[in-house]
Amino acid sequence: MGEKIMQSLTNRAKQVDRKPMSFVERLYLWNILKGMFITFSHIFKKRPTINYPEKERPFSPVFRGLHVLNRDEEGRERCTACGLCALACPAEAITMEAAERKNGEEHLYREEKYAAKYEINMLRCIFCGLCEEACPKDAIYLSETPAPANFTRESFIYKKEDLLIPNPKTETDDFKKAKGLA
């Protein structure tokens, strides 16, 4: 009458050792010493912590942070309010209102149509970057700045003024700072 042993599936099952403890084990001292050796060896281990304010962990090159509305080399807004970004947005975070460029505004807007109002709700945004991919005019980019915390819900709706990059012609210093060059 053989004892039925369950078939092992992985051959990794380990028999639990239920032998009564030997004298050395019952003294615990040897095991305590072994444990203390393990904790002591951690003195020489490398600490994974980074001293944050002094040192910052570099961002990944594909990091997607707050949006930026770009300008061209002459400082004109690139956005033409086509609405493709809003259409691509899976979270429906982008709204805009288009307007027609008037005579004499050629130095402000690159295309004949421009965004009079452009808002992104950062509470809705999932930072997927689809708007960036959808844009035919290279107007919207995701920067390396993480979205900051705030106290009110309204403050998370970023207006066009919040999103536009500084003008490279008139606000040279701010532009360089925004590009991370200064």
Binding site: L29, I32, G35, M36, I38, T39, F40, H42, I43, K45, K46, R47, P48, T49, N51
Partner: protein, 352 residues
């Protein structure tokens, strides 16, 4: 009868120095504990307040002072205040009989670096250490809180159980020294070979030292015997209702106890202020420098023991209560008794 006022002044100065030193050492023990805990766990530990976080204990102390002092309505107010006072006092009193070094020459006077060289030093330490339980008991009882009371009961029974093993392990040592005076015990150890190293009691009493060490851990309520303040079982232990500096006193008393028991272990088993591989008697003309070397040697040993306390704390998990009592009564006491009998027999055999 005339009073030697200079002697009184000298002793007062010594007491002030020793008390201040124990307080400062206890302060930096809290820093060391956090730093060592961090290092053993691959963390960084306090490093914001001052270089390497060295001002952290000052910030902690300030925080404790500024906190609201709460005395629960249902507590016994007198005992509630008496508890931490007693704990602190008992912790500080032990240092009175410990020789912190040899003798120094100041203004033509020979000053022994010991507050009181009483001939019952070891006995005195035991008496005062037992008093420390009252601080915890009274605090836990006066809080009028069942968790505090339970923790205080645990602390009392634990301290009483382990004091027995501690005393028995020391009796074996006293058989050899034949004296209860701490300075006498140190002097005997210093006479050994290799500049005193071969005279250290730990060589002749390894088992006694081990029992003493474990019992000291239990007496200080340190892990793995920190049942009186087991957070996950008793919220916070016997000082649950305490706040502000009264809580600070309890925590401080624990660290001072740690310091004092390290000093006692170093003195009784590791030659006290004896520098190994250095013959103090041959350099008697060095005067005050010799005393300084002694203090440095003692402090080095103390620092090692304090590190051991913290090292063990972050290695071994807490005992269960029945395991604690089993270890105390069924292992330590018989072992200490056997050690005592064997030592007694050997001493008798050698002397006959």
């Amino acid at each position: 009868m005339s009073i030697d006022w200079i002697l009184v002044l000298e002793k007062f100065l010594l007491i002030a120095v020793v008390v201040t030193a124990s307080l400062v050492i206890a302060m930096y023990e809290t820093w060391g504990e956090r730093k060592i805990a961090a290092i053993l766990q691959d963390r960084r530990g306090p490093n914001r307040a001052g270089p390497m976080g060295l001002f952290q204990p000052l910030a902690d102390g300030l925080k404790l002072f500024m906190k609201e002092e709460i005395i629960p309505n249902s507590s016994n107010k007198f005992l509630f205040i008496l508890g931490p006072c007693l704990a602190m006092m008992a912790a500080m009193m032990t240092s009175a009989v410990i020789p912190f070094g040899g003798t120094i020459e100041v203004f033509g006077r020979t000053v022994a670096l010991q507050i009181a060289d009483v001939n019952i030093g070891v006995l005195y330490i035991f008496a005062v250490v037992s008093l420390g339980v009252y601080g915890i008991m009274i605090g836990g009882w006066a809080s009028n809180n069942k968790f505090s009371l339970m923790a205080a009961l645990r602390a009392a029974s634990q301290a009483i159980s382990y004091e027995l093993a501690m005393g028995l392990s020391l009796i074996a040592l006293l058989f050899m020294s034949g004296s209860l005076s701490m300075r006498e015990i140190v002097t005997q150890q210093m006479a050994g070979g290799w500049g005193g190293l071969l005279g250290w009691n730990v060589i002749y009493q390894p088992l006694g030292f081990l029992i003493f060490l474990v019992a000291a851990f239990a007496e200080c309520n340190r892990t793995p015997f920190d049942l009186p303040e087991a957070e996950n079982e008793l919220n916070f232990g016997y000082h649950q209702e305490y706040s502000s500096m009264k809580l600070g006193f309890y925590l401080f008393a624990e660290y001072i106890n740690m310091f004092i028991s390290s000093v006692v272990m170093a003195t009784l088993f590791f030659g006290g202020y004896d520098m190994p591989f250095f013959d103090e008697a041959a350099h008697a003309d060095w005067g005050n420098w010799l005393a300084l070397i002694g203090i440095v040697a003692l402090m080095a040993k103390v620092v090692f023991f304090i590190f051991l306390f913290m090292w063990v704390r972050w290695t071994i998990p807490r005992f269960r209560y029945d395991q604690l009592m089993n270890l105390g009564w069924k292992k330590m006491v018989p072992l200490a008794l056997a050690n005592m009998l064997i030592t007694g027999a050997v001493v008798l055999w050698l002397n006959s």
